[in-house]
């Protein structure tokens, strides 16, 4: 095979591969949904609504970033929403006991990191299955949140902070928190796709053994991913509290399902080893904008539940089916022409 034909063939192969790529598909679907929603749903395209949309997707988007890395390594962290809740509860409790907010916020981030480290310890040091561990800490952290704050709510957070979270960048209609999302998305995107750590994440997820043979330390990597996951969940708890100016133990309850749904919808394989951050961002955006548009069209919340569930299943089913089809095509091709 000459170099030229190889290149030509590789281009066509690349094109089909790209079309079949769920990651690209989900971005396309998201764009289409956004366009359709903007065109057909009244008030969807307004800048104010954009602000609301961003605020609504803020916690999911933040938590989805480290969750992507965790799932790519083949593990899962279901405790994120409870970490968020505990961070919020502790924030309220400290605020009530007259601690300065400038101390509280770093402490809440630290708390998130510690909670993540507990998950990491159970998963990597004790070698327990992450699903069971994080279901356990899901209950544990949420329970602790209630222990800390009870059923009560703490309000009156300083207006400087709450206003910043709900406000826009001066002179624009871009929400301030979009900055946080954008910065973290870029950081996580770069780490996953353009650093040695990212390469290791993919390798560990695809084959832990082979990664070990290439000098990667899977345990250490996973441990730190859990810490980061907890840290970001702690941050999400702080932002959640400031956004609603209300620290409650039940803040963010059930969010973990939405996050996992968004990540899988974004084309990340639950088996690990596959996925890309732009797809995940698209998945988050798709879920949030569908929710927003449906609500504006007076479609009930229930419809969204169904849509989320179906999308989640389809997002895993579709690539499987596509693979099966591609597999059979390849096998047929194999039989006719023997490469090499």
């Amino acid at each position: 095979m000459s170099a030229e034909t190889a290149v030509a063939e590789s281009r066509t192969a690349g094109l089909t591969a790209r079309l079949a790529n769920w990651n690209v598909a989900i971005i396309a679907v998201t764009v289409v949904v956004l366009i359709i929603a903007a065109a057909t749903v009244d008030n969807f395209g307004t800048s104010q609504n954009f602000g609301f949309l961003v605020l609504d997707l803020l916690p999911i988007a933040l938590v989805a970033l480290p969750m992507t890395l965790v799932i790519v390594t083949g593990e899962i962290d279901l405790s994120v929403a409870s970490t968020l809740g505990l961070s919020s509860a502790v924030m309220g409790s400290l605020w009530n006991s007259n601690q300065p907010i400038e101390t509280i916020i770093p402490l809440c981030l630290l708390l998130g990191a510690v909670l993540g480290a507990v998950n990491g310890f159970f998963v990597t040091v004790l070698g327990l299955p992450s699903l069971a561990v994080t279901i356990g800490t899901l209950a544990l952290y949420r329970g602790l949140a209630f222990v800390v704050l009870g059923d009560g709510a703490v309000a009156d957070f300083p207006a400087v902070y709450t206003d910043w979270v709900t406000g826009n960048i001066a002179g624009t209609s871009i929400p301030n928190v979009l900055l946080i999302i954008a910065i973290l998305a870029v950081v996580f995107g770069v780490v996953l796709h353009a650093t040695p750590v990212g390469r290791a994440v993919f390798a560990v997820g695809a084959s832990e053994q082979a990664a070990r043979f290439a000098g990667v330390r899977p345990g250490r990597l996973k441990f730190w991913l859990y810490v980061v996951s907890g840290l970001v969940a702690g941050l999400a708890g702080v932002l959640w509290t400031l956004r609603y100016s209300s620290a409650r133990a039940d803040n963010g309850a059930g969010l973990e399902l939405a996050v996992v749904a968004a990540v899988l919808l974004g084309g990340v394989s639950i088996f690990g080893g596959k996925g890309a951050l732009p797809g995940v961002i698209a998945g988050v955006l798709l879920l949030a904008s569908l929710q927003n548009a449906l609500r504006l069209s007076d479609v009930s919340n229930e419809a969204l539940n169904v849509v989320t569930g179906v999308l989640l299943i389809v997002s895993v089913l579709a690539p499987n089916l596509a693979n099966a089809v591609r597999g059979s095509v390849q096998r047929r091709r194999h039989r006719t022409t023997k490469p090499l």
Binding site: L128, P129, A132, V133, G136, A139, Y141, R142, V306, L321
Partner: protein, 349 residues
């Protein structure tokens, strides 16, 4: 893995085979024993601080509460034993409860048995969908049932549209069934026991049940052994769904008030009961007896906290702690057992 070197002590070991077997059984049963002991300690402490905890009414309340959770836990155990998980049980319970509630409201004459069957059928259908998606879609159970958790709940909300079925709309006979007793035991508890015994016996004493364990223990070996893994997977999900549906009917009978939110968040308790009960999340081991004991323990903890006037908020934290404790202990016990089994290889006689 390589063979251990030949052992010199083989001759000494052989005669003690019988005693060793029983001690081995003890180790394996320690799991369920542990729950029973924890339960006993809990009951003792609570009863000392408030003797009314052991009153007939109180025990009855705990058993009634356990009945629903235990039925769900039995179904979940079946699925987990095959190395899968079913997160949709809470939603399926809600759908079944609402379906049966609506039917009973519109046809007050419907016999309770028919209501139970309808509930189980609705649940079984949901479970079969899960199973088919897992088997033929090649989608992991976690994802499938997370999806159907949303979908089934959404369908129930759509259908219910905000209406609530109240106790006074349900036929008196059905509500009686939720509270009446037979020989002093509430019907709900009897049904749960029946489900437990039947499932327990099938899993332990029938080829079908053993094949489920085999699948969970080693899917690859199961395929090589000619077990039809696909059909069994769908079956296991069907059973879990059907039992969730049955639990929905029990729920309706016990609480009398049914809305679309019935059973929301139950999946966590159910998984917790199963894991605490010693069913390994990676399949192949554990028993429905353990799962039911786990359900009993969790329910008793809830009641004890109320009686001991410990902040209810601790309950969830305790459940979480118990899960971690249980899987941690399982890992430890497994390591111990493995070590002791390794020492006892076979010997040429």
């Amino acid at each position: 893995m390589t063979a251990a070197p030949a052992r010199a002590d083989s001759a000494v070991e052989l005669p003690t085979a019988v005693t060793r077997r029983s001690s081995l059984d003890l180790v394996l049963r320690a799991r369920e024993l542990g729950i029973v002991l924890a339960l006993a300690a809990l009951v003792a402490v609570t009863a000392i601080s408030n003797p009314r905890f052991l009153s007939g009414q109180s025990i009855r309340d705990i058993l009634l509460g356990t009945a629903i959770l235990a039925v769900l836990a039995v179904g979940q155990a079946v699925v987990v034993i095959t190395r899968n998980i079913d997160l949709s049980v809470g939603s399926v319970l809600g759908l079944s409860a609402f379906t049966v509630g609506t039917l009973l409201r519109d046809n007050p004459g419907l016999p309770v048995v028919v209501a139970l069957l309808i509930g189980a059928a609705v649940g079984g259908a949901c479970g079969a969908v899960n199973g088919v998606l897992v088997r033929y879609g090649n989608v992991p159970a976690l994802v499938v049932t997370l999806g159907t958790l949303y979908v089934v709940r959404g369908i129930t909300y759509f259908w219910a549209g905000g209406q609530q079925i109240n106790a006074d709309e349900l036929p008196a006979g059905f509500l009686d069934f939720g509270n009446a007793t037979f020989l002093g035991i509430p019907y709900l508890v009897l049904i749960a026991l029946l489900v437990l015994v039947i499932t327990g016996v099938v899993l332990r004493n029938y080829r079908l049940g053993r094949e489920l364990y085999a699948m969970g223990s080693s899917p690859q070996a199961a395929r090589l052994a000619g077990i039809s893994v696909g059909r069994r997977t769908i079956g296991a999900f069907g059973v879990s769904g059907a039992l969730a549906g049955l639990a929905g009917v029990l729920f309706a009978a016990r609480f009398g008030t049914i809305d679309a939110a019935a059973g929301t968040g139950y999946e966590l308790n159910v998984v917790a009961a199963v894991v605490v009960g010693g069913v390994a999340v990676f399949g192949g081991s554990g028993s429905v007896w353990g799962a039911a004991l786990g359900a009993l323990l969790l329910t008793t903890i809830g009641s004890s906290l109320a009686v001991l006037e410990i902040n209810q908020f601790w309950q969830q934290a305790i459940v979480g702690g118990l899960i971690l404790l249980a899987i941690g202990a399982d890992r430890l016990v497994a390591a111990r057992v493995a070590a002791s089994l390794k020492k006892r290889g076979s010997h040429v006689s």
